[in-house]
Every structure is written in structure tokens, then in C-alpha cells.
């Protein structure tokens, strides 16, 4: 009797999980916070594909790349992986991702390969296609209009000097944080993006194509200038010293500071902007959220930010690549992105052109129009992740006075040169 009961209960549990009845069981590793909504999307996929069961794994971006590499090296890991735009090339070359060329030929996705944004970033050194662009974004400035008004500021900054003036004025006039940005040097630090935006808008770049090869596209003086510029925010006190301990753009210090009005300006990707605005609206029901987005400042040349985003890839160890491709087809449908992953924009030109960003988010639309890909950074032999981390460390070292701006700039430049020479 006990045995029969146990067997029946086990059968019911397995039936409820659905796993035992599916022909294919695959694992999808997802690194953004919207895991609940993503689970709902996967449920819809399972209804549409009753022969495939999908397990959702939630993970953190900061550890995602190295964890997947470790797993893939020993024949493990999820079937479908959520990866950054700049990862497929390295992961594909490392043999961790499954080449998707055949799938693209046999069952192209949505409006076709050419409609996908930044698909060139998915091509490995061997010509294999190792990722499908899923969502895209770029960063823009987010301002608290009420704090700007209190400080007597009438318009967002057009250039970097104006941004510092606005930040200083907010602090002097209201006692609040002006432009609060994470200045920490931890893994995948935010300062990497700020430094590059500053360099690009001033006509330089850490890496440039040089004939058939690659070289550094910046001088020590230009690196040191950027370090000094961003350090001045901490030195003048309008970005607090505590930001030296903050690395991530999605750190609660930034989200909360902008939401509760302790901070006047931030630089964020669209999902964080929406998160801040939603948090404000939840706390102040019925009130209009006092935010505007605007373009990142220009330098001696026009404003420039990176075309970022996420791709989906298939683990080279997957036993179910066909089922994984079906899942990718489902997840890249614009209507599914809009329904379950609404903080992101689809990385496809046709649906992207049809999105109404609204007045508050219009700065992101303007910025997206001028955003650039990582180009030579990702095409060259230096891994973006390594340059990213070294940049964070050297900026951090200069910010705390461990190295002078010139010493830190020299070390960063030499390290990048070494990476490009290898």
C-alpha cells in the first residue's frame, strides 16, 4: 500500500513537472533580474512545444562568462546561454559555443540574419556564427528634473564640461549628489563605459584598426586626462567618495539615490532608467515622475556610446541543439520580447524602428541612433573583458592616489599594447 502510494505520488509529481513527458529537456541560463517574467515566457514556449521542457537557471552577469567557460571545458553547462554582445567571438573560439551557421541556413530567424543588429559580433575567427543578437540598448543620461529646477539648471549637459558644471551646481545649490557614477574598480566596472565614451567623443579609442592589424588609438596623456576628469567629481565632492566602492551601474546606491532624490544625474542603460522611474511611480502614485533622459555629453567630437546588448548562444556540449534553436527562435520574436522582457529592445532593425520610446525615454532613442559597435575592440586580439578589467583597475588606482594619473595611464597603455601584440 505504502509502495503504491509512493509510486503514485512520484508519478503525479513527475507529471506535474512535465519533464518526464517531454522528448527534449533543455536548460536556459538567464542573467537578468526578470527571471519571473522569463519563466512565464518559457511556459508559453512549452505550451507551443509540448515535446520540449525548459529549465530556467538564473545567474549573475558578473560571474556568467567564467562560470560558463569552466563548465563548457568539462562538457557541462546549460544548453542555451545568455551572453553579452562581445562574448560570442571569444567563447566560440574557445570551443564553448555551437556554430549556428547551419541553423541560419535551414531555419532563419524572424526577418532574417541581416535584420539583426550587430550580428557581425557573433562571428568567430573561424567564420562560425556563435550567437543570435537578442536585445540591444545603449546608455544615456537620466536627470531628475525637480532637482535640476531647484538648482536653477534649465537644460541637460551638451558636453563633458557642462556635465561637471551641472553636477557641481546641484551639489552646491541643493546639497545633493550631482552626477553620481560608480567609480569602483571591481570586475566589469562601469568606469570602462564612461572612459570609452569620453575617449570616443574626443576622437580617440583604446584600440583602433591599423592596416591589417590593430594598435592602440590613444596616448597616455589622453588616458590621464580622462582619469583626471572623472576623478574631479570625487575630489570636488559632488560624486561622493563612497562611489569608489561601487562598481555596478545597477548598484542599489544609484537606483535608490535617483529614486529618492538624493542624486540628480545618472548614466544608465534603459532597463535601469525604467526601473528607477517605476520605483518612483510606485512610491508616488498618481504623480508624474520627474525624470528626463538625454544624450551622453559630446567632447571635441559628437557624443558616442556603445551599441550594447545580449545574445543567445548554444552550448557546444548541448545534446539538444535543435530544441535549443527552437527556443532561440521563440525568444527572439519581437512580440515575446515586448510581452515578457519589456525593459529591453529587440536587436532587430525592423521592430526597433517601430518602438515608441515616449518623452521620458527619448534620450535613449537619440543615443541609440549614434551608438557604435565595439568594432576594433572586438575584432582585435585583445579580449575586451581583459581590457575592461585593466581599465577599471588603473582608473581605480589613480582615483585613490595609489598611482599618479600618468603612471596609471602608462601602465594601462602598456598592458593593452602587450595584449594587442600577442
Amino acid at each position: 500500500m505504502t509502495f503504491k502510494f509512493t509510486a503514485a505520488a512520484t508519478a503525479i509529481a513527475l507529471f506535474a513537472s512535465g519533464a518526464v513527458w517531454a522528448d527534449s529537456n533543455i536548460i536556459f541560463r538567464f542573467n537578468d533580474p526578470e527571471s519571473e517574467a522569463m519563466r512565464a515566457a518559457l511556459d508559453e514556449f512549452e505550451v507551443e512545444n509540448p515535446d520540449i521542457s525548459v529549465e530556467l537557471q538564473s545567474f549573475a552577469w558578473s560571474e556568467a562568462r567564467q562560470q560558463f567557460l569552466r563548465e563548457a571545458a568539462v562538457g557541462e553547462g546549460p544548453d542555451v546561454v545568455h551572453i553579452a554582445f562581445v562574448w560570442p567571438r571569444d567563447l566560440g573560439t574557445a570551443g564553448a559555443l555551437y556554430p549556428l551557421n547551419e541553423f541560419w541556413e535551414e531555419a532563419p530567424l524572424q526577418a532574417g540574419y541581416d535584420d539583426f543588429i550587430a550580428s557581425n559580433l557573433a562571428i568567430g575567427a573561424d567564420g562560425g556564427i556563435y550567437g543570435v543578437p537578442w536585445t540591444t540598448d545603449t546608455w544615456a543620461m537620466l536627470y531628475r528634473t525637480d532637482i535640476m529646477e531647484d538648482a536653477g539648471i534649465t537644460a541637460p549637459a551638451k558636453n563633458w564640461d557642462e556635465l561637471r558644471d551641472i553636477s557641481r551646481t546641484i551639489h552646491e545649490e541643493t546639497g545633493k549628489i550631482g552626477f553620481g557614477f560608480p567609480a569602483g574598480s571591481g570586475v566589469q566596472s562601469t568606469i570602462w563605459f564612461l572612459a570609452n565614451y569620453y575617449w570616443w567623443s574626443n576622437g580617440s579609442a583604446l584600440v583602433k584598426a591599423d592596416g591589417d592589424g590593430f594598435d592602440v588609438g590613444i596616448t597616455e596623456a589622453q588616458i590621464a586626462e580622462a582619469m583626471e576628469y572623472f576623478d574631479s567629481y570625487m575630489k570636488e565632492g559632488h560624486n561622493p567618495q563612497s562611489m569608489l566602492g561601487v562598481t555596478d551601474w545597477y548598484d542599489p546606491a544609484i537606483i535608490e539615490g535617483m529614486t529618492n532624490g538624493d542624486q540628480g544625474v545618472a548614466i544608465v542603460p534603459p532597463q535601469q532608467a525604467r526601473e528607477i522611474i517605476a520605483a518612483y511611480e510606485k512610491r508616488h502614485p498618481g504623480e508624474e515622475a520627474p525624470f528626463i533622459s538625454a544624450m551622453v555629453p559630446a567632447g571635441s567630437e559628437a557624443s558616442s556610446t556603445h551599441l550594447g546588448g545580449r545574445m543567445l548562444g548554444i552550448n557546444s556540449n548541448s545534446d539538444e541543439p535543435e530544441a535549443a534553436w527552437k527556443l532561440i527562435e521563440f525568444l527572439t520574436r519581437p512580440e515575446i520580447i515586448a510581452k515578457y522582457y519589456g525593459n529591453q529592445f529587440p536587436a532587430q532593425q525592423t521592430p526597433l524602428a517601430q518602438i515608441d520610446f515616449g518623452a521620458t525615454m527619448s534620450g535613449f532613442a537619440e543615443q541609440l541612433a549614434v551608438a557604435r559597435t565595439w568594432g576594433a575592440y572586438s575584432d582585435g586580439p585583445a579580449q575586451i573583458g581583459s581590457m575592461w578589467n585593466e581599465t577599471g583597475r588603473m582608473f581605480g588606482s589613480a582615483f585613490i592616489g595609489e598611482r599618479s594619473y600618468d603612471e596609471a595611464a602608462e601602465e594601462l597603455l602598456n598592458t593593452v599594447k602587450d595584449m594587442l601584440d600577442k
Binding site: 567564467q66 567557460l69 569552466r70 571545458a73 571569444d90 567563447l91 573560439t93 574557445a94 570551443g95 569602483g184 574598480s185 571591481g186 570586475v187 561622493p240 567618495q241 563612497s242 562611489m243 569608489l244 566602492g245 561601487v246 562598481t247 546606491a253 535608490e256 539615490g257 538624493d262 579580449q383 573583458g385 581583459s386 578589467n389 585593466e390 583597475r393 581605480g396 588606482s397 589613480a398 582615483f399 585613490i400 592616489g401 595609489e402 598611482r403
Partner: protein, 303 residues
């Protein structure tokens, strides 16, 4: 064959499984790590393996200024300062918990229970809680210090080079002090009362009795606890990584975090393995000290 030889053979036979276990689970990984340290293995190239580069990583390591600063951070700040503070505070707290005053006011039990709270807190929870307490914008400690007028502006304890090490050591001490205290408390309770009474009859005051009766009796516990704390702390990764991520900059980088950064942030597994081997070498020195001071004596007693 005499009885002693038979006993020795029996002991060796009984120890053989654990010896094989150690060879398989410690010897083999160590040898593999040594091999990796002589290659340019990258996390991106694990499938094809690394190329042999000889002692290149060791040469780079030993000529790098950053390595010596990391070594200093590990030996002085993380290990030296934190171990000494824990030994001194642990002894002081143990004396307090063992004092007649606490017994008189019936506070002994509650004090010992309270002491267990930090110890029962997992390190990850302890670090997260302390990060919030020490936060430079919303932290309770900043608010408290500003309310009582000690500081005018918030201090970013974990981001300021003047405060980051004391703050880190505070977290480590808070979380691990109870074990030290309880060990010393057990030692104190084993000091025979007759010794104190005899010393008192000979005219020794409390300070004299502490230095000439209590402390000599506790010395074996202090030595063992000191060495164990060195082992645990020198190897520790979690406190520094979770509290500061080795920053600001690389100001609080220690050998354990350096291994992680080189291996899993920069993907240079070969170089990271070399750092690991150097770290293992330093630990071996501590191991020899421990063996000579403690284990050898016990080993001889057994044999």
C-alpha cells in the same frame, strides 16, 4: 617481532587509507597546479590546454611590484594584524567571561550565548550586513557618528584607503572572535584553583597571577589557536572579495583574491596557478612551524 614493532605496523596500516586519500585529493591537484603554473593555460583555451613556458610566470611574479604589495597585504594586514587582535581580544573576553563578577551578577550564561551570535552568522551574511552598516551613504555607523558629532560628513569606510583595512579587519574579528574566546575560556577553566590559591598565599597579586599562573597554562592553547588562525586567515578569500572586491583599485588585494582575479577575471590560469604555488609554499612554512611546535610532539607520543 616485538610488541612495539607490531603496534607500529598496525598504526601504519590503519593510517594508510588516509595517506592514500591525501595523495589523491591533495597531492594530485597540487602536482597538476604546479604543471599548470609552467604553462600559459587560459580559461578560454582549456579544451586545447596551455603551452609550456617554464618559469616565466614565477619570474614575472617575483619581479612585479604589485605582487609584493599583495604579499604585504596578506601577511601584515589580513593575517598579522587580524590574528594578533583576535588573540588579544579573545583572551580579554575569555578572562571577562570567566570572571567572578559576571558569575556574581548571573550574567555568565547570557554572555556566552550572546558571544555565539557572530560565530553562528555565516561569513557571507556577516559581510553583507557589515557592508550596509559601513555604507558611505546610507550606513548606520555613519549616521550614528554624525548624530553624536564625531564626524561632519559620511566616511566611505570600505572605499577610503585610510579606513578600508581597519573596516575589513573589524568584519573578520567580529565574525571569528567567538571561537578564539571560547577556546581560551575552556583553557581558563582547566587551570586548577589550587595554583591560584597557592600563588595568592605566596602574596602574588592578580597581575602577577595572570602572568605567572594563567598565561603559562594557556600558552599551548594560544600557540595552537594562533597557528590555526594564521592558516584560516592567510587562505581566506571571502571576506576581502565580498567586502571590497580587492579594491579600491587593488588596495586590498591579497593572495587569495589575486589568484581569483588572475584566473577567473583575467583568464590567465597559468599565472594564477603560479600565484597559488607561491601561496602554498608560504603555507608550507607555517605548516612546518605547526608540525614542529604541535603535531610532532603528539606524533612522538603516539609512536
Amino acid at each position: 617481532m616485538n610488541v612495539e614493532a607490531h603496534d607500529r605496523r598496525f598504526i601504519v596500516l590503519m593510517l594508510a587509507p588516509i595517506f592514500l586519500f591525501l595523495v589523491f585529493f591533495y597531492g594530485y591537484p597540487t602536482a597538476l597546479n604546479l604543471y599548470y603554473s609552467l604553462t600559459d593555460l587560459s580559461l578560454l583555451g582549456m579544451k586545447e590546454g596551455g603551452t609550456y613556458v617554464g618559469l616565466e610566470h614565477y619570474a614575472d611574479l617575483l619581479t612585479s611590484k604589485d605582487f609584493y604589495r599583495t604579499l604585504w597585504n596578506t601577511l601584515f594586514w589580513l593575517t598579522g594584524v587580524s590574528v594578533v587582535i583576535r588573540l588579544v581580544l579573545g583572551l580579554g573576553l575569555a578572562l571577562l567571561l570567566n570572571s567572578a563578577t559576571l558569575k556574581r551578577y548571573r550574567l555568565t550564561t547570557i554572555s556566552r550565548l550572546l558571544l555565539l551570535v557572530p560565530w553562528a552568522t555565516p561569513p557571507i551574511v556577516a559581510v553583507v550586513v557589515w557592508r550596509w552598516l559601513l555604507d558611505g551613504r546610507q550606513g548606520m555607523i555613519n549616521k550614528f557618528l554624525m548624530n553624536i558629532g564625531v564626524i561632519d560628513e559620511p566616511v566611505a569606510f570600505l572605499a577610503n584607503v585610510n579606513t578600508v583595512w581597519p573596516a575589513l579587519i573589524t568584519i573578520i574579528v567580529w565574525n571569528t572572535l567567538p571561537l578564539v574566546t571560547l577556546t581560551f575560556l575552556a583553557g581558563l577553566q582547566s587551570v586548577p584553583d589550587e595554583l591560584h590559591e597557592a600563588a595568592e598565599m605566596d602574596g602574588a597579586g592578580p597581575i602577577h597571577r595572570f602572568f605567572h599562573v594563567t598565561l603559562p597554562h594557556l600558552m599551548p592553547s594560544i600557540v595552537i589557536m594562533g597557528l590555526l588562525l594564521v592558516f584560516w586567515t592567510f587562505n581566506n578569500f571571502i571576506y576581502v572579495w565580498l567586502a571590497t572586491g580587492a579594491g579600491p583599485g587593488l588596495f586590498t588585494n591579497v593572495l587569495a583574491t589575486d589568484i581569483y582575479i588572475k584566473g577567473f577575471v583575467d583568464f590567465h590560469l597559468g599565472y594564477s596557478s603560479a600565484v597559488g604555488m607561491v601561496m602554498a609554499g608560504i603555507m608550507a612554512i607555517f605548516g612546518v612551524i605547526y608540525f614542529r611546535l604541535v603535531a610532532l610532539r603528539e606524533f612522538k607520543d603516539v609512536l
